[in-house]
Amino acid sequence: MSASGYLPQLMRISSQRDETSDVRTLRLEQLRPAPLIWRAGQFGLFSVFGLGESAFTIANPPTRGDHIECTFREVGKVTTGLRRLSVGQVIGFRGPYGNSFPVEDWRGKDLIFVGGGMGMAALHAPLRYVLDNRNEYSEVVILNGARGVADLVYTEEMVEWASIRGVKVVRTVDPGGETPGWDGEVGLIPQVFEKLGPQPDDRVVIVCGPPVMLHFMLQSLDRLGFHPEQIVTTLENRMKCGLGHCGRCNVGPFYVCRDGPVITVAELQLLPPEV
C-alpha cells in the first residue's frame, strides 16, 4: 500500500443500465487511464464523494478490461447517492481487493452458477470469464432466481448466454412472483436445483445469494452428494478499509476483505457462524 492507499482513482460513469427498479449496473472509465489489473471475484470500494464508500464486486471479468462495471442495489446512504448520479459524473474507485475465484482450477470441469437476487452480481465476472474462455470448460449451467420476475437481473444477457453451445440457463421466481407470460420455473432456488438433479462428479457449484438461500442450498447440495470442497461462495460482510485493518469484516481468524470474499464451503464450515 502506498502513501495514497486510501486515495481512490476517479472514474466517470460512461453508461448505466437499470436491471430492476432498484438495481443498477454502471460502466466506469478511468479519468486518467492507468493499468488496472484484477481477477474475477475481486472487489473494489466505490465512493460517492460526500457520502462515503461501499464495497461492490467488480462485475466484469478482466477479459473485458478496458473499463470496470459494478451492479448495486439502492438500499443505504451511499447506494442511494450513487443511484442519483447520471452518465458523465465522477465517482471514486480503489482496489482491487481480496482473493478471486479459482477459475484456472475449474478448467475441464462442469460448472453450475447459482445466483439468487443480487447474488447474481457476484457471479457475473467469473461467469463471463468462463464464457469468454468457453473451450476450456465443460458444460455450464446458470440457475438464476429472484422473488419476482421484476427482480431478475441481467435479463438481456441471460438470453444471449442461453444461445451459447453447452450453456444452459434456468430461471426461476419464488411462488407468487410469476407474471402472465412467464416461461421460466416457479419455485425456490434449492427446489429447482434439486429438480435439475446434477451429479457431483467433476462438477463445481458456485452459489451466491442471501443468507437464507445459501442455508437451504447447502442442504440441497449435501443431499445430492456434493462435497463442501466443490462448492464455492462469497462472503458479504460489511467492510470499510478493504485492507485487513479496520476490523469490521473479521470472522474468526478470517478477514473477508483480505482472505475472502471467495471461499469454499469447506473453508466456511471452519468459521464461526457470523456471516
Binding site: 500500500m1 464523494f49 460526500g50 459524473q89 458479504e236 460489511r238 478499509c241 474468526g252
Partner: protein, 350 residues
C-alpha cells in the same frame, strides 16, 4: 549493555526532558492537575507527572492512531470534476515519555495491525517512524492491573526505546534501542553510571509489584479453549450487563478498529477514519438490516475472542491485550474481561 545504565535524580530527569523539548520534538507525557492524569503534549518538564507511576486515564495510543484523522480531502470544481488531496504526512519527531510498560506493549500491537502486511498503513508508518518511546516501570500495582497474565511485567521493555525505573532518590535509566540511545543526546556523560546492585533492587521492586498483581500467565492453549466455547450459553450471562457503550475499546491501548466516514458540503469535503468498536451494534450491520452479530453477547464474544483467540492464532501467540486494566476500571457496569476469559476457559476444560 544489558543491565548497564544511569542513575538520575528527579532533577536530572527534568533537565533531560527540557533538553528533549528544546530539540524541537513534540514531547507527550502524563500530565494533569488533581486526579485526572492524561497523556498530552507538554511544553515544560514541570507539567509532567511521573511520580508513583501515573497510570494515565487513557493510553497514549491516540498519538500514533488518532481518534479521528483525515484520509483525504476533496474539492468539487464543478458538477463533473473533483480534485483529491492526500493528507499531510507527519513531520515532527515525537517522544512518548513516561509510558507504562503495558501501554508501550500496546503500541506493538498497533504495529502488528498497521505495519504487519506489506508496506502497511502509510499514515501510521510515517508517525511511527518519527516516534520514540520512553517507558516508566511501575512501582505500584492498581487493582485492575493484570499485565503479568498477558506476557507483560511491571518493568517490561516491549515497545520501549528507553526505560526509566523508579529507584530510591530518583530513577534508573536504560537505553534499549539505537533510537533510545539517540534520545540521551550525550547528556549521559554527566550521569552517574549504575551498579549491579541498583538493577538488582529495581528487579526486586518489579517482582514485588508483580506479586501484588498476583496473576500468573494465561495458559498457552487458551485460544483453542475459547474458540471451543463459541457456542456455549456463558456469553449471554457474561454480557447480560453490557450496555454496548464502547468505553472498553476507547480506553484500550491495543484496540485498533476504525470507521471511515465522509463529511462534505457543496464545495468540499473530507474522508476521515475514526475509532470504532465491535461492541457497538452498527459495527457489522449491513445496509439491508442483516446483522451477523445481532445481539450484545455475540458482540462481547467477538471482543474477547479477537483479543484472546483469533489475534494470537495469527500473531505467534501474542494476545491483543496488554493487561492495563482500564476496561475493567472504567466499565460503567463493572464488567471484567479477566473473569470473562477465566470463566469461559474453565467452562471448556470442565
Amino acid at each position: 549493555m544489558t543491565g548497564a545504565g544511569w542513575r538520575l535524580s528527579a532533577a536530572e530527569v527534568k533537565e533531560w526532558m527540557e533538553w528533549l523539548l528544546a530539540g524541537g520534538r513534540r514531547v507527550v507525557a502524563p500530565a494533569g492537575d488533581g486526579g485526572l492524569v492524561l497523556f498530552r503534549q507538554v511544553s515544560s518538564a514541570g507539567e509532567v507527572r511521573l511520580e508513583g507511576s501515573a497510570h494515565a486515564r487513557w493510553s497514549p495510543k491516540e498519538f500514533l492512531f488518532p481518534r479521528t484523522e483525515t484520509l483525504m480531502s476533496y474539492t468539487f470544481d464543478d458538477s463533473n470534476s473533483i480534485r483529491l488531496a492526500p493528507p499531510r504526512p507527519a513531520e515532527m519527531e515525537q517522544v512518548l515519555f513516561g509510558v507504562q510498560p503495558c501501554d508501550a506493549a500496546g503500541l506493538m500491537r498497533l504495529d502488528d495491525v498497521f505495519l504487519g502486511d506489506g508496506d502497511g498503513d502509510q499514515l501510521y508508518a510515517d508517525r511511527r517512524r518519527r516516534t520514540a518511546v520512553v517507558s516508566l516501570a511501575c512501582a505500584v500495582a492498581r487493582p485492575e492491573c493484570f499485565c503479568t497474565a498477558v506476557g507483560g511485567a511491571p518493568d517490561g521493555t516491549d515497545g520501549s526505546d528507553a526505560q526509566l525505573l523508579p529507584a530510591p532518590d530518583g530513577y534508573l535509566l536504560r537505553a534499549l534501542t539505537p533510537k533510545g540511545r539517540e534520545l540521551l543526546g550525550g547528556l549521559d556523560s554527566g550521569w552517574q553510571v549504575t551498579t549491579d546492585k541498583d538493577w538488582a533492587q529495581a528487579r526486586a521492586q518489579a517482582e514485588r509489584v508483580a506479586t501484588e498483581i498476583g496473576r500468573s500467565p494465561l495458559p498457552g492453549d487458551l485460544p483453542g479453549r475459547l474458540i471451543g466455547a463459541f457456542g456455549l450459553p456463558i456469553w449471554s450471562t457474561l454480557a447480560e450487563r453490557c450496555l454496548g457503550c464502547g468505553i472498553c475499546a476507547y480506553v484500550c491501548p491495543s484496540c485498533s478498529c476504525f470507521d471511515i466516514t465522509d463529511q462534505a458540503n457543496a464545495y468540499c469535503g473530507t474522508r476521515c477514519r475514526s475509532w470504532d468498536t465491535c461492541t457497538l451494534a452498527g459495527f457489522t450491520r449491513h445496509a439491508s438490516g442483516h446483522n451477523p452479530r445481532p445481539d450484545q453477547p455475540s458482540r462481547f464474544r467477538q471482543r474477547v475472542l479477537h483479543k484472546f483467540a483469533y489475534f494470537p492464532l495469527e500473531s505467534e501467540g501474542r494476545l491483543m491485550c496488554v493487561g492495563c486494566g482500564r476496561c475493567v476500571a472504567l466499565c460503567p457496569v463493572g464488567m471484567d474481561i479477566r473473569s470473562a476469559v477465566d470463566n469461559t476457559a474453565t467452562e471448556v476444560s470442565t
